[in-house]
Amino acid sequence: MRILDVAPALFMLGLSATVFAGTSDLPYWADFTPGPAFVPRWVAGAGALLSVILLIQAWRAGGSAKPDWPEKAGAIRVGLTTAGLILCVPLADIAGFIAITFVFMAVMMIGILRRKIVPSLLTAVFTAGLIFLVFRWWLKVPLPAGPLGF
C-alpha cells in the first residue's frame, strides 16, 4: 500500500471522527434553522468519504510509495530547528521575545547549520535589532520582555 496516501487518509479519517464526536452534543437543527452541528457533521462526512476513497485508491494502486524523508543529517537539522522553535514559546515569556529570538538564531546558525561564529552572531544581532526597531519601537507591539527589558 502507498504510505504516501494511506497516512493522510487515516489522519483525516481520525480527524473526521473527532469532529463528529466533538459536535455530537450540539443540535443539528434548531427550530427552523440549521444548528451549530449542521456544517461540522457534513464536513466530517465529506472528510470521511474522501479518506475512504483515498484508501481504496491507495490499495488498488499498489506499490509502496513512501514520503521522501531526508537523510540523517537533514533530519537532525529539521528536528533540532523544530525543537528550538517549540522551546521559544515558553521561554519568550521568561527571557523576553527579542532576547530569545537572538539566542535561537545564534544557536541555529552556529550549532545546527554550522556557520562561522562571528558572521552568525552579527546576523543574529542585526535581525534582532531590526525586529526591535520595527515591532517594538515603530509598531509599539507589546512583545513579552525579560529581565534585560526586551
Partner: protein, 504 residues
Amino acid sequence: METLSLLGQGFSTALTPGNVFATFIGCLLGQLIGILPGIGPAAGIALLLPIIFGVKATTALMMLTGIMYGAMYGGTLTSVLINVPGEAASVMTAVDGHQLAKHGRAGAALSVAAIGSFLAGLGAVIVLAFLCPILGGFALKFNAPEFFLLATLGLTMTASLGSGSALKALLMAVLGLMVALVGTDPMAGTMRLTFGEVELMDGIDFIPVAVGIFGIGEVLSSLEASQAEDVKPIRTKLKDLWLTAQDWADCRMAIVRGGTIGFLVGLMPGVGPVVASMLAYAIERRASKHPERFGQGALDAVAAAESANNSAVHGAMVPMLSLGIPASPATAVLLAALILLGIRPGPMLMSQQPELVWGLIASMMIGNIMLIFMNLPFAPAFAAVLRVPYAYLAPGILVVSLVGSFATTLSIFNVGVTILFGVIGYLMIKFNLPRAPIVLAIVLAPLLESALRQSLMLSSGSPLIFVQRPIAAVLLVLVVISLILPMLRGRKKEIKEADLEGEL
C-alpha cells in the same frame, strides 16, 4: 466612460506621496520576497500584516498588493541565475532561463522576463478595471444560495484545476474547513470543537496557519539540504540586459499569448500563477516556430511563463474585488487583511469603498511601472542578494514568522499554533499534499457556512433553493462539473496507460 472617470479618481488617490511610497515599499519587499527561496508572496504578505495596523486601509492594501505582484518579478532572478525558483510560479522560468544564463544570455532572459511581466501586468490591470464593475454589478443579484455555491465552487475548482491529485486537494480543503469550524458558532454563539480550551474560543486565526504552512513549513523543508555550500549565482552586467531586434520578434507574441492565458487562468478560483505559467509554457511550445529550443534555452519560453504568472496574479484580483472570493493563497491573505482592517469584502465593496478599490487598481499600474524600473537597470544589484547564504536568511525568516504571528493577535498561544502548522506544512510537503486548499478553505469557510445556513433558513430547510434560482442552478452545475472533471481525467489516464501496456 464611468470606468475611466473612476480610474482617474483612483489615480488621484494612488498618486499621493504616502500611497506612492507604500506602493514602492510593497513592490520592493515583494521583489525581495520573490528572490528569497523559502518564502512566497502568501507568507510574505501574512508576515507583514502587523505593519498595516498603523496606516490607512487604502495605503496598507496598496503595499500588500505590491508584495504580491512584486514577488513575480523577483522570482525570475533566482530562477535564471541559480536555477532555484524564488517562488513556485517561476518554476517554468528556471527551465529555460537558467539554460540561457549558462550560455551567457542571463541578461536577455532577465530583460525579457521583466518586460513581459510589465506589459502583461499592465494589460491585465486595464482589463481588470473594466471587468470588475461588470462582475460586481452582476454579483449584486447574488443572495445566500449563490454565495454558498460560489464559495463551494472556489474550493472544488482548486481541486479540479490545480496541479497534483484532485482527491488530496479536496481532502485538504476539508481539513481547512475543519480548522475554520473551531471556535464560536457564528449564528448560535455556542462553543464548538474547543474541547474546553479558552484560547480556542475565538477560533484558530488565519494568519498563524498561513505563516506556519507557507513560511515555516517551507523553511523546514529547505533545511533538509546541506547549507555548507554557498550558492554562486551567474554574474550579469547592465549591458547584457539589452535585447536585439530578433529577440523582440521571437518574444512579442509569446508575451501576448502568455499574458492572455495568465489572466484567464488567474480569474479562476483555486488555480493561480503556477498553473498559469505552466499552461502558457506548454501552449507557447506548440505555437513557437522553434519548439525544439524549449528546455534548452528558449527566450520566448521565458517570456510566455513570466507574462503569464504576473498576469495571473492581477487576474486573481478580479474575483477578490468584485465577489469577495479569493482566487489564490495570496489573495486569500489579502482578503484576510481586508477583514482585519474592518472592511467587508464582497460585491458591495466597489460601491461602498470606491476610493479603496479604484485607488488599488491605479496603484497596480503604478507598481508595475516601478518594478520595470527596478528590474531593468537594477537587476544586477538585486542579484547580489543571492550571494547571502540561505543559512543566514532561514533563521531570520523563522523568527520574523513567530514575531509576526504574535504581533497580529498579541497571543503567545498563536505563536504555538504557527509552529504547529509549520510542522503540518512540512509534513504536507513530504506527503505531496497541496497546501493552497487549506488556506482558501479557511478564508471561505465563514462565508460558506453562513450562506448555507441562511439559504436553508430561507427555504425552511429545503435544498431545492439551490436549483430553483437560475444563477444558483448554473453554479451548482459548475460545482458538479468541477468534481467530475478530475475523475474523467483520471479515467482517461488509466485507459491510456492500459493501451500502452497492451501495445508493449
